[in-house]
Amino acid sequence: MEEALLLARVQFGLNIAFHILFPSVTIGLAWVLVYLRLRYEVTRDAAWLETYRLWVKVFALTFAMGVVTGVVMSFQFGTNWPGYMNKVGNVAGPLLAYEVLTAFFLEATFLGVMLFGMNRVPGWMHVTCAVIVAFGTTVSAFWILALNSWMQTPAGYTIENGALIAGSWWEVIFNPSFPYRFVHMLLASGITAAFLVAGLSAWRLLKAPDDAAARGTLRFGAQLAAVLVPLQILSGDLHGLNTLEHQPAKIAAVEALWETQKGAPLVLFAIPDDDKRLNRFAVEVPRGAALVLTHRIDGELKGIDAFKDHPQVAPVFFAFRLMVGMGVLMLILSWFGSLVLRSRTPRWLLWAFAGFTFSGWIAVLAGWLVTEIGRQPWLVTGILRTADAVGDAGGAKLGASLTAYIGTYAVLLLAYMVTLTHMARK
């Protein structure tokens, strides 16, 4: 049972992590495409159209990866977590159904027109299709984030015969953490797309230094990131305060705060030891956490000791630092890069942006690890434990399918990344 639970979690975690890579590109990139397409419509400069054509291909490939991995997700709710559907199916099912109905079809259908229909529809209609696809990706994120946030901070439900039913759909959807998580994810996607655009343009410029269009998109990506990253830091701070209010155990794990105390220090780095419940090699800023989270120097913060159910500290702690670290690096590169790019494009800067092509992915994955592991041992906070939701698929079945998934994902991910860089250099 232990083993099956672990395998089920690893398999689902792997699938969802692999899936989120692609929507986190497409949500942002779809709006970038609207911008590029509009620029062509307004300026009639063929360079914009060329740029649009390149990026719509990147989008199509990424979208296809998102679709196929998303199909996997819709099956695994049932195959891996039957207890989840039994307990909260009346709430989770409709939200997922709404995603398919209101978003998935829009995206998939109008993407066809975006890709193949330029000579068949008038210009305004083609622009409209781009807007519809972008709108669809955002609506898709809306429903998924509503469901995920509801699992973090459930609201608007009543219990009937041991299963949950929605009392108020409004409260279910607009649950306490939803607005913060939704904004945080949209910005994350915008940043991921911005660094992808800048990064692939930098690859292109390393190969062909005179490509004016690539210089334009590099600058555009860098500037977009320079605007979005500070906004993301602000939204992350607000999101954190919201989490402190509704899921204090997650914050205790993020801060590696073992004991409830006033004026708690901010642990910059440490190696948290979950068995002995202490931090090794800690580097701390005295009273820092109290200041950041309560905005008072002697504010009280609850530690891990205050919670009967709490997540493992070490993975949450490290994932959070990875996310914030990436954020800081992205802030520096986007601001400094934007500044330098105003006058020149030195090769070392191209290498820096090329190296950061997929940096958004690292931050996104780290962020999701924080929020998902931080929710443990609950699958739905206070309502359903992860251990109670797992199916009875034996270890052998899980192991076999897990091996097949890992093999497939490794091939697909490699092919995706190689193809993108290849396209950029051609």
Partner: protein, 326 residues
């Protein structure tokens, strides 16, 4: 809207979504399998013929599964848990072909050949796995070698069925030598389907007492025989119109699917898991059903509307070249 009626409405909606999926993704999976028999230039044309549609086609599967999850959550776990390995195989197949579809366009040389091969292999694996799932599903996941063998036969039959759909789609969308090839493929597909449907229709009543009673109890057996008769007629009509009409073979193939689906739905009703869970046992709470129904009532007409729009927009014979290159 009472609790008796809602599950019925959702069963109908789910049925429509799954039928739409089987027909729509069926033709593009079929085209994928037929890649093996085509020349290089023909392959490009075949892929171009499904290019604008395949993403949306696959979405019907997500809708079907989404409705199963939203409307019959208890069945979602039972069905997909029991179908664990075929589902995993299908998903791997769908992933490979979906990604190969995009990557083959961007690759050259041996890499292109590799993606072509993966597109074929993924299509075949997904089709076979879907048939396997169907075969396991109609027998209520009964254990034993015989039942698995039956599922394998259904898997092979569904491959034939998709080949028929794919070939008739190509007849509709292409011209010249490729169209002639597609006509020959369609004949093979049709024979394959006839064999498969006959075998499955014979074995299912033997394997399941419930199905036997539903079909052969007097007097409904008399008018129920209209269904196989109509299927036979649709098959014959498809055969005759091969080579004479561009659109009739595809329409005939779709008719075969609709009839086979009706027979299947009749066999299963009122179960959502054969002999175990009825629609009403597995249904979600009315509060959930009403919420989804409201959304579906508003959105589905739009989905149908723009699906028709896109098919009209990309109507006519497929031309070479992808992604509006010029």
């Amino acid at each position: 809207m009472n609790a008796e009626l809602l599950p019925l409405i959702f069963a109908a909606l789910m049925g429509i979504a799954i039928l739409a999926y089987v027909v729509l993704d069926g033709y593009d999976l079929g085209v994928g399998m037929l890649m093996a028999g085509a020349e290089r230039a023909e392959q490009d044309l075949m892929v171009a013929s499904i290019g604008p549609f395949w993403d949306a086609n696959e979405t019907w599967l997500v809708l079907g599964i989404g409705l199963l999850l939203a409307a019959f959550p208890a069945a979602h776990g039972v069905v997909l848990g029991a179908l664990y390995l075929p589902v995993a195989a299908m998903l791997v197949g769908l992933m490979l072909r979906g990604v190969a579809f995009e990557l083959r366009i961007k690759a050259d040389g041996w890499q292109r050949e590799l993606w072509n091969w993966l597109f074929w292999a993924g299509s075949t694996l997904a089709s076979f796995a879907q048939g396997l799932m169907l075969g396991r599903y109609v027998t209520g996941f009964a254990p034993g070698f015989g039942y698995w063998l039956f599922a394998v036969v259904v898997g092979a039959s569904l491959c034939g069925g998709y080949v028929l759909l794919g070939a008739t789609w190509l007849i509709l969308r292409t011209e010249g030598a490729l169209q002639q090839k597609a006509i020959a493929w369609a004949r093979w597909g049709l024979m394959w389907v006839a064999l498969g449907v006959a075998l499955v229709s014979l074995v299912t009543p033997l394997a399941s007492e419930t199905v036997r009673h539903k079909w052969f109890d007097f007097p409904q057996v008399l008018y129920l025989m209209l269904l196989p008769a109509a299927t036979l007629a649709a098959g014959g009509w498809t055969w005759i119109s091969l080579g004479k009409s561009d659109w009739k073979p595809f329409a005939g193939a779709v008719a075969i699917y609709v009839l086979a689906f009706a027979g299947l739905a009749y066999s299963l009703f009122p179960y959502v898991v054969m002999d175990r869970l009825t629609l009403w046992d597995a249904a979600a709470h009315p509060s959930a059903l009403k919420f989804v129904l409201a959304g579906a009532a508003i959105v589905l007409p739009f989905i149908l509307g723009y699906t028709v729009y896109v098919y009209r927009l990309f109507g006519g014979k497929t031309k070479a070249g992808v992604y509006d290159q010029k």
